[in-house]
């Protein structure tokens, strides 16, 4: 996998009022890359839910903590061929979030809450949690299903 080219980098506070700013920027970015309207909505939903999880679970509602978001165009092997994709990496300095504790709930269980991680996993092709040097990192990848240059 190539490192890819950096498209956008954002540093924001863990304030829920910033979520709409990220959604608007990311929606424009995804559309510019060639994602369909449905795919753009999916990417925006996934990142919004991931940021919500950081604010609620890693920072426990503190609105002044830092979140870094980077967006790259990368090339990855996918189903036997190379594909362009959008890679999104979100980093925070909050408490360790155990992915197992974010497993959500059974969808047939009709009650509020627990949907965020389900939305993220349904919306993206790759979802990876890690903890490095005191930081939580979430890597999301969405494959771009458009004809490749030269193909």
């Amino acid at each position: 996998m190539s490192r890819g080219s950096l498209l956008l980098r954002m540093e924001l506070r863990s304030n829920p009022e910033m979520l709409c700013v990220v959604r608007n920027a990311l929606g424009q970015l995804a559309a510019t890359l060639g994602f369909s309207e449905t795919e753009c909505n999916a990417v925006v939903l996934a990142v919004d839910e991931a940021l919500t999880n950081i604010i609620r679970h890693a920072y426990l509602g503190d609105v002044e903590r830092p979140i870094e978001a980077s967006f790259r165009r990368i090339h990855v092997p996918w189903e036997g061929q190379g594909r362009d994709a959008l890679e999104i990496v979100l980093e925070d300095q909050g408490v360790t979030v155990n992915a197992k504790n974010l497993c959500g709930r059974a969808l047939e269980d009709v009650r509020p809450g627990g949907l965020g991680l389900h939305f993220i996993r349904e919306s993206m092709n790759t979802v990876e949690f890690s903890r490095r040097k005191g930081r939580n990192q979430l890597r999301l990848v969405k494959i771009l299903h458009v004809p490749q240059k030269g193909s």
């Binding site: 939903l45 839910e49 939305f119």
Partner: protein, 110 residues
């Protein structure tokens, strides 16, 4: 997000606009629970026609409203769902639990 309430006989209609997310969903939740639990309104209708975006916290608020409506024997109806909102509800697999209509006329019909 903005909420405007209208009253038609014993029906409360909420016209919602903007984004329903972590920052705004508590306002919607509070408004719904007040109608059902405190005011015991027999039917609450949510006009989502001007909602641009809804996340899982918005879906959770709708589920809480639905549960509160069932607790007091009221009806909770949604209408005006655009493609984005419909996709989110379908992704949640909860779309079937809600009473959803195309327009206001159907939503307030006896």
């Amino acid at each position: 997000m903005q909420i405007a309430a209208r009253h038609l006989d014993k029906i409360t209609i909420f016209d919602i606009s903007g984004d329903i997310d972590l920052a705004t969903s508590p306002i919607l939740r509070k408004a719904l629970l007040r109608e059902f639990r405190e005011l015991k309104v027999p039917r609450v209708v949510l006009n989502l026609g001007a909602v641009r975006y809804m996340d899982s916290s918005g879906v959770a608020s709708l589920v809480e409203g639905l549960k509160a409506s069932r607790d007091v024997g009221s009806r909770f109806i949604l209408f005006g769902l655009n493609r984005t909102i419909r996709e989110v509800l379908q992704l949640s697999k909860l779309v079937k639990i809600f009473e959803i209509y195309e327009n206001e006329e159907q939503s307030v019909a006896p």
